[in-house]
């Protein structure tokens, strides 16, 4: 885990929606305040359930809570959004990344600080948090 992880300074999106709150995943949107990405993790079997729902999707244990992961992931698929849903928005990358610690744990996110047309499936990425709307959005940068 990188203690020197840089926060995102410039959001490639001119506007960004907030999520929820939903009473179950609010921790997820605040987790990045200390630079760590967390998922609801089962205390009994170790499985990470996302989105969180109060129960482990694998063993049905209710004993668990947010636990950090390394923040490393791989791009599983992506798109370059070109359509201007809002005025004057430049193209940006939306990606689904697979979290290193658990193959079936995906996040839709943005890959940032890169030429949008240069991102490829399989690229290694690392989380970087964007602090906006009082939430910490987990975005990802290519691993150098």
């Amino acid at each position: 885990m990188s203690a020197t992880r840089r926060e995102v300074e410039v959001d490639p999106l001119r506007h960004r929606e907030r999520f929820g709150p939903d009473g179950e995943n609010d921790f997820f949107w605040l987790s990045g305040s200390d630079g760590l990405l967390r998922f609801w993790t089962c205390s009994d079997c170790g499985y990470r359930t996302h989105p969180a729902s109060g129960v482990c999707a694998r063993c049905l244990s209710r004993d668990g809570g947010p636990q950090p992961v390394s923040g490393l992931a791989a791009v599983l698929t992506y798109t370059v959004n070109v359509q201007r849903w809002v005025a004057d928005q430049e193209p940006y990358v939306i990606a689904i990344v697979g979290i290193d610690e658990q193959l079936d744990l995906h996040l839709t996110t943005n890959v940032i600080d890169v030429d949008p047309w240069a991102v490829r499936i399989g690229d290694r990425v690392e989380v970087a948090f964007l602090h906006r709307h009082d939430l910490y959005y987990p975005l990802f940068r290519l691993v150098a």
């Binding site: 960004r16 929606e17 999520f19 798109t79 839709t108």
Partner: protein, 398 residues
């Protein structure tokens, strides 16, 4: 008669309202137009209608034209006296409302059910497109659509572009292959007087079109329209009373498998279509080779391609080669696809235009776009976690 519940119902009537861009008419106005047309088509009167249902129900205004009027409004407008009614979006695909109607018939709750799907998205969006009904600094709903939305993915075009990218990556599918679907749909729309876009579209036009969300361009996206489609589902033993030869329901596919999300499915080249398709084929002895025409959900071109694979018309990953060159899926080919023009050219009637067209084809009323001797038609609805399918026949089952 077969004990399979599908075989206890028929499609006895179909009706459409005017369909087009920014008609400026209300949802209830369009819905009652389609409903009256369908009731008349079946040779029934409104007093015969004892059930009513729609997808998704809810509210037309707060959904920006996505939902039509709720059943309560149609019941009152037409002074219906239903023994059963329901509006729901929590169903296996949009055609899940037709399945619900069939269940009401087989349960003995209703004899003639009016099913409708109405959209006024074109008028609701006005000249500004989807951007005009999107608050980019608002609160995304904390549900399966909210998770992608907060990352600047407000549109299903973004979510399904990622499905296409992964399919291109794993199987070598190309834009030249994918583009054959909108090109074939536009060709078919040229034979459909009520299709929204009828001018010819070439593959070069497609490749030159502006990008929406790579690799999907403008012509990969369906056309928001205003319009209503009504389908009458009747008990099979009422067939002697009907005006028109009915269409039979051989089997439905309603099963859901996998994760109900847009981004967590283990195989990012598949969708809920797989579960619905497998379920459909488990309920019939007919096989893909028996299908004369396919009316597959094309909210985006890539969805129709994935449905072709899921339904077994080709193997997973082989959708690109299957549609390559376009001949196979064009009228005159072995599997004419979306013969009304589909949502890509006829307009986004949200699955029900496809049900309507399958019925037209099985009745032999397709005129210039008729598939010769069409006896079996497959209809699918939905994309991502939403999926439902029906196999329709011109002859009675058994």
């Amino acid at each position: 008669m077969s004990s399979q519940f599908e075989h206890q119902s028929v499609i006895s009537g179909i009706g459409q309202s005017a369909v087009g861009r920014r008609l400026g008419r209300s949802a209830i106005d369009l819905t009652t137009e389609a409903a009256v047309n369908a009731i008349e088509d079946a040779g029934l009167s409104r007093q015969d209608i004892d059930g009513i249902t729609t997808y998704p129900g809810g509210d037309n205004l707060t959904s920006f034209g996505y939902a039509g009027p709720p059943p309560s409004q149609v019941i009152d407008a037409l002074r219906l006296e239903p023994n059963w009614f329901q509006g729901s979006g929590e169903l296996p695909g949009q055609l899940g409302a037709i399945v619900a109607a069939m269940m009401a018939v087989s349960a003995g709750l209703a004899r003639h059910v009016l099913v409708y799907r109405t959209v006024t998205e074109s008028t609701a969006q006005g000249g500004g497109g989807r951007a005009s009904v999107y608050d980019p600094d608002g609160a995304a709903p904390p549900n399966v659509m909210g998770w992608p939305r907060v990352f600047g993915a407000p549109s299903a075009s973004n979510w399904l572009a990622m499905l296409a990218t992964r399919h291109f990556h794993e199987f070598g599918t190309t834009r030249e292959q994918l583009g054959q679907i909108p090109v074939a749909c536009r060709h078919h729309a040229g034979f459909n007087p009520v299709a929204t876009y009828r001018d010819p579209l070439t593959l070069d036009d497609y490749l030159a079109a502006r990008m929406i969300s790579w690799p999907l361009c403008l012509f990969d996206c369906d056309v928001p329209v205003d319009g209503s489609t009504a389908i009458i589902v009747s008990a099979r033993d009422t067939v002697p009373e009907l005006r028109t030869a009915p269409v039979y329901i051989e089997a439905v596919g309603t099963a859901f498998r996998g994760r109900y999300t847009w981004d967590q499915q283990p195989d990012l080249t598949q969708m809920a279509a797989t579960g619905a398709a497998d379920h459909l084929w488990s309920r019939t002895s007919l096989r893909p080779a028996d299908v004369d025409t396919a009316q597959l959900y094309d909210g985006f071109s890539i969805l129709a391609l994935i449905w072709l694979e899921s339904l077994g018309f080709c193997k997973p990953g082989e959708g690109g080669p299957f549609v390559e060159g376009g001949a196979r899926i064009t009228l005159g080919g072995e599997l004419p696809l979306n013969t009304s023009g589909g949502q890509l050219s006829e307009g986004r009637l949200h699955g029900y235009g496809l049900v309507h067209e399958a019925t037209v084809q099985l009745r032999g009323r397709g005129a210039a776009r008729q598939v010769p001797n069409a006896r079996v038609a497959l209809v699918s609805n939905g994309g991502g976690p939403i999926a439902g399918a029906m196999l329709l026949t011109a002859e009675p089952p058994d």
